[in-house]
């Protein structure tokens, strides 16, 4: 479905962005914090970011499959609440680095993340109750659906769905950088 495999929602100030705004390559991930495949892709993305630093901009968008992963929505909302404290990426990293540890414990497991990051539990809980948080997560999700996301993680390289093996993602990005620099 080629015509649908382009990013339907351009990267904007509403997004969580790491790296150079003028980078040659923009990598957008649609991910679910409870998804094991996303957990496996996490170190790969980190490696890619380190390898192509300066030439790569990374964007994370939420795509929680909440019926399959019962704590994915809560984890996404927690990351959004942490974002209000300027801690989105710290929480994103914690959730993936400790995925095996927190997922069996659900909400209690997530509280460990709040403590690990030294965030104020009550302030965070209040932020999570704001409808804006759920709205942000759902907007990401529906933008992903319209972009042709068919599972998690889904990666878009310069606006197009990457359909190859994750192991080859770094090479695909490397080739783009080599061609354009």
């Amino acid at each position: 479905m080629v015509e649908e495999a382009a990013l339907a929602v351009p990267v904007s100030a509403h997004d969580h962005i790491q790296g150079n705004a003028h980078a040659v390559v923009t990598l957008v991930e649609y991910g679910d914090f409870q998804c094991p495949a996303c957990g496996m892709a996490y170190p790969l993305v980190k490696q890619i970011q380190q390898r192509y630093t300066g030439n790569l901009r990374f964007v994370f968008r939420h795509f929680p499959l909440s019926q399959a992963h019962p704590y994915a929505q809560m984890a996404a909302e927690l990351a959004e609440a942490a974002a209000a404290e300027g801690q989105f990426w710290a929480m994103h990293d914690w959730l993936y680095e400790n995925q095996d540890g927190w997922t069996p414990h659900g909400g209690a497991g997530l509280e460990a993340g709040v403590r690990a990051l030294g965030l104020d539990q009550q302030a965070l809980a209040a932020t999570m109750r704001s409808p804006d948080i759920a709205t942000h997560v759902r907007r990401d999700f529906m933008g992903g659906v319209r972009s042709g996301v068919n599972g998690t993680p889904s990666f878009y390289v310069n606006g197009y769905l990457y359909q190859g093996d994750f192991d080859a993602l770094a090479h695909a990005i490397g080739r783009l950088i080599a061609r354009q620099s």
């Binding site: 495949a37 019926q67 399959a68 759902r138 996301v149 068919n150």
Partner: protein, 172 residues
């Protein structure tokens, strides 16, 4: 075998969804139907097409559409899958004669002995408005379904499915 295209009349069917219940296409007269043929129960979750559609039932309902998924698996396999994956839509069993409905829609894969990965949007009058056959191993996502539903004249109002419907979300 060629997949039925837009403007064809959707072939009628009645298939078991559970050991003692069956679902017929004609029950959905006046509503839109999304038919999702898929090869087999129990594909991995993270890349599972039906897990994605399961997250979109509210959006489908806003577009006046009911999702029906069809494979050649038996009703007990369907029942176990629906329970395990928490699917909230019918899984229909095109089991006996095997693949008869998939054949009628032109999406049976004779070599593999399963239904192809095919999507149909059928309007309230029983006419196919959009169809798509995906390569067997490729999960087609939901963008094509949403686009086809939004293009139906009956949905050409100011409906927005991109912002969450607060009531629907609270309940889920």
């Amino acid at each position: 075998m060629t997949i039925l295209a837009a403007c064809a009349t959707a072939p009628e069917f009645a298939l078991h969804s559970t050991p003692d219940q069956s679902v017929a296409l004609k029950e959905f007269h006046g509503r839109n139907v999304i038919l999702a043929f898929y090869p087999a129960d129990w594909s991995p979750v993270c890349s599972d097409q039906l897990a994605l559609y399961n997250e979109l039932l509210d959006e489908f309902a806003l577009l006046n559409a009911q999702l029906l998924a069809i494979s050649v698996d038996g009703v007990w396999s369907h029942a176990a899958l629906a329970r395990k994956r928490k699917y909230h839509f019918p899984l229909l069993s095109d089991f006996e004669p095997k693949g008869e409905v998939a054949r009628a829609y032109g999406v049976y894969d004779d070599k593999a002995g399963v239904a192809g990965r095919a999507l149909f949007v059928i309007d309230g009058d029983g006419m196919i408005r959009w169809s798509y056959l995906s390569p067997m191993g490729v999960n087609p996502g939901a963008a094509g379904i949403i686009n086809a539903l939004e293009a139906l004249p009956s949905n050409n109002s100011q409906k927005s499915i991109d912002a969450p419907a607060p009531d629907a979300r609270e309940a889920s």
